[in-house]
Subunit: 506 residues, 2 copies
């Protein structure tokens, strides 16, 4: 999922008025860049393709469509987990290409380098602590983090150093050598419940992505990271770890919140030792396809509007919400256009990104392949935040773009999805590189208060997909994509707003 | 935890009045045996030991006591999972005996035969189904059920037969031979939320306990049972399986609700095959101690009031609520009496039962050992339903007993725990055999609406223990135990109400 901060907020309600919102929205702005602007409702029927009736027809067809749910089922339940480089990921790419063909899309594939990292077994136990009865070891629930190397065959047995922040790690830097550093940074459930789930996640996920490398640089022998999510059902959270600048990566695993609590409670009573046995297998880099399906524009086929999701997933669950539902929703937009026999002015391009999870290489390869046509990408939508109730659109757009989008929000007001959050940073991961190149970026704005309870865990399964919300998400994207493909193009992003690096591997 | 059905309900509120309740309570009565009775508040200060002031002092000391939480911590976090027959279970028995000594209790141990069953690894995958891409297998999250044998070394690969009831199994009995029978009976979350959690659990747990045996008798090669609880976080539920009357037990495992849904969704599309690999180890029966600590009565030391919990647990979690907190609460009662230097008229006996989970043999051995003194057991309390908010007492008592208990409920009214549910069946598992012998039985009445979300799963960990509720539970049991140990004895149960068999192994 993507990253959205520093937002201004506009609400287009049923009454066409506006309300500014800082406290109640799901986005955390360290600073709010832009003041809310007043955009009055206006006549927008520039032409038939953009009439209110046409947009309403698209919205309503999407609300009736079962396509996205069916495609989610195929990806999550018939194909299953789609770890980058796996046979399942390749099967998903083939299935998606076939399905795009059935929708009469013009299909191409763009190969990307993908790491072949397999999880393998993971075992750990607390083997020494104050108050330990003789002969007792306490098992820990752990899972290797993406790109972790394996432990030596005999495993690693070492004392732990528990830290609750990077500052605490630095303050105890000399103690890290030879130890297993445990990053015990809890997910802020209250923050998530208050609408700032993404902020709560990013705070903890940073430790998962970068903590092990910092521990390695201090001479630690392994790293454990408290699960980066809100679940309290002994769920281990996985995800990518980055080893930039580290010559010798160390075994790194996620440990459940409960087990982190256990370690903390034992550590305050005396020294704690852990035995750790991780068996991930890192294979050679392979090629995997980003799948692109075009509904060619009838007036300006070389101008492109992207609607997208990534088809890869982590492997503990079946990646149903992260992100089978997202790529299925994008395909659902094409299905609606196909059903309505719509011919857009510009090309609507459905993209199923390869390998978002472990390096964002599908998006990088796409940008490289499209280097010469980036200025003809007029907009890019990505859906990668689960199937919570959508209530609007997050957008990387210029201030003046908001007024232009009024017809879109008018059409979405009947499904209470007229909230606009304008962001200075990418609103989703895969389209971040396009945003950086100036392409206006969009994502459905979704209630994520419970998304991180299951995200990147074994519980990300098909039963969690809310079919009503998924249809609403398709409706939002279909209306927005149709408008982008037919209306006057939005201004491209200024360099100041576009030069934020995308958040890879989330 | 125990079993309570067929209840009549009395509420002693702050105003001393009564309300009858059928719909809103947590107990499901197939029939309500007895009508609610009116019991007016009355003067009850028979003697100083039973004065309202004394009972209030006991209640308030319990509400301040940290003893039970500390003891729960030791059992759950320092000793960990306490599978019957394990080194941890033995360590728990030693620790409890030592702690009882520190409270100046007179300690004895009663050995019981305990099966040495260890979980071992469990792997499963769906290996054949309609729509399966070549080379794809879908992993299932499973755990062996207690007393399951292992699969052959090569595992078992077989088609499944999914059933949603015993009736459906019988209707398809001829198809069971050679198959893996999957009992797909979902836990009724709505029923649990409505206050009938125990009923919801018993409905599904019956399949876990007896389903595999039925499948075996029809020639099935293995059995999977949908997790018997309310969790939807890919949590596998474990527990005991009974093989009565089965010559050749078959491998039996629990499968998460999500995975059962997956299997169901695939099974409607065509034949499904599973590969199953279970490695539990069944060892010889060993002896394990039920630990008994007496605070001797100063007038009638041979008359006994039991306050109890079981110290063993399943091993996926740390058995924090099932039942570290329960046995700790019983010890907490002794700690309160010790702190207040109370000397009861009758003996107050704290019992930490061995092996409730896998056969209830600790309770059986106790009954056998006490065969000659059962008629001098005047009451038995057990706490085995987690640390939800307590709101009263569940009791196996005669109708006329309710009036006698009025002083207890008066004392508990300040903590909103004046609800009485009188049951015709045992209110907890270990004391069930005592109830069957006519001993009045009691259990704190607890909000269990979320108990079965974590019960018998990896999520039963110390962080789930609510310390305030635990203190309230200690208060209830301390007041009740003190009253039972000093007041006129309650009538013993009639045979008609006492001959229900206890529900073993829950």
């Amino acid at each position: 999922m993507g990253r959205v901060v520093q937002a201004s907020v506009l609400l287009y309600g049923h009454h066409g008025g506006k309300r500014s919102c800082r406290a109640g929205c799901w986005l955390c702005g360290l600073s709010v860049l832009l003041l809310p602007m007043f955009v009055a409702p206006r006549a927008y029927a520039q032409n038939d393709a953009l009439s209110a009736a046409r947009l309403a027809t698209i919205r309503d067809a999407a609300l009736q469509s079962k396509y996205a749910l069916r495609e989610t089922f195929i990806l999550a339940n018939q194909i299953g987990p789609r770890l980058p480089g796996s046979v399942q990921a390749a099967a998903a790419a083939r299935q998606i290409a076939d399905a795009m063909g059935t929708l009469d899309l013009k299909v191409q594939t763009i190969p990307a380098p993908v790491p072949q990292w397999q999880r393998g077994t993971a075992d750990a136990a607390v083997v020494e602590y104050a108050g330990r009865p003789a002969g007792v070891e306490q098992p820990l629930d752990i899972a290797a983090l993406g790109n972790s190397p394996a432990t030596p065959q005999a495993g690693i047995t070492a004392p732990i150093l528990m830290v609750r922040s990077y500052d605490e790690l630095q303050a105890n830097a000399k103690q890290a050598a030879g130890r297993i550093v445990v990053f015990d940074v809890p997910f802020d459930r209250q923050l998530a419940a208050s609408g700032y789930a993404t902020t709560a996640y990013e705070r903890v996920a940073h430790y998962r992505m970068h903590g092990p490398a910092m521990a390695a640089q201090l001479g630690a022998v392994a790293a454990l990271v408290r699960s980066s999510g809100g679940a309290h059902y002994r769920l281990v959270h996985t995800g990518m770890t980055v080893w930039d600048g580290v010559d010798h990566p160390i075994p790194a695993a996620s440990v459940t919140g409960e087990d982190a609590d256990l370690l903390e409670s034992l550590a305050v009573r005396g020294p704690v030792q852990i035995h750790l046995d991780l068996r991930p297998i890192s294979g050679p880099t392979v090629q995997e396809d980003t799948v692109v399906g075009d509904l060619p524009g009838i007036e300006r086929p070389d101008e492109i509007v992207i609607v997208s999701g990534h088809y890869d997933s982590w492997d503990l669950g079946t990646g149903a919400q992260d992100n089978a539902s997202g790529v299925a929703a994008a395909m659902g937009v094409a299905a609606v256009f196909h059903q309505l026999r719509l011919k857009p002015k510009r090309t609507v391009r459905i993209v199923a990104w390869a390998n978002e999870e472990n390096g964002l290489t599908g998006a990088s390869a796409y940008r490289a392949a499209m280097a010469r046509s980036l200025d003809r990408h007029v907009g890019a939508i990505e859906n990668d935040t689960g199937t919570g109730r959508p209530f609007g659109i997050a957008a990387n757009i210029t201030p003046e773009s908001a007024a232009q989008l009024a017809p879109v929000f008018e059409a979405l007001s009947t499904i209470d999805a007229s909230f606009l959050v304008r962001s200075a940073q990418p609103v989703a991961a895969d389209i971040g590189l396009l945003t950086a190149a100036g392409v206006p970026g969009f994502a459905p704005l979704v209630d994520m208060s419970h998304y991180f309870d299951i995200h990147h865990t074994a519980a990300d399964t098909f039963d969690k997909v809310d079919s009503d919300n998924l249809r609403r998400q398709v409706a939002i994207q279909a209306v927005l994509a149709w408008w982008l493909a037919n209306a006057d193009p939005l201004p491209r992003l200024p360099a100041t707003a576009a030069d934020q690096p995308p958040l890879s591997g989330e």
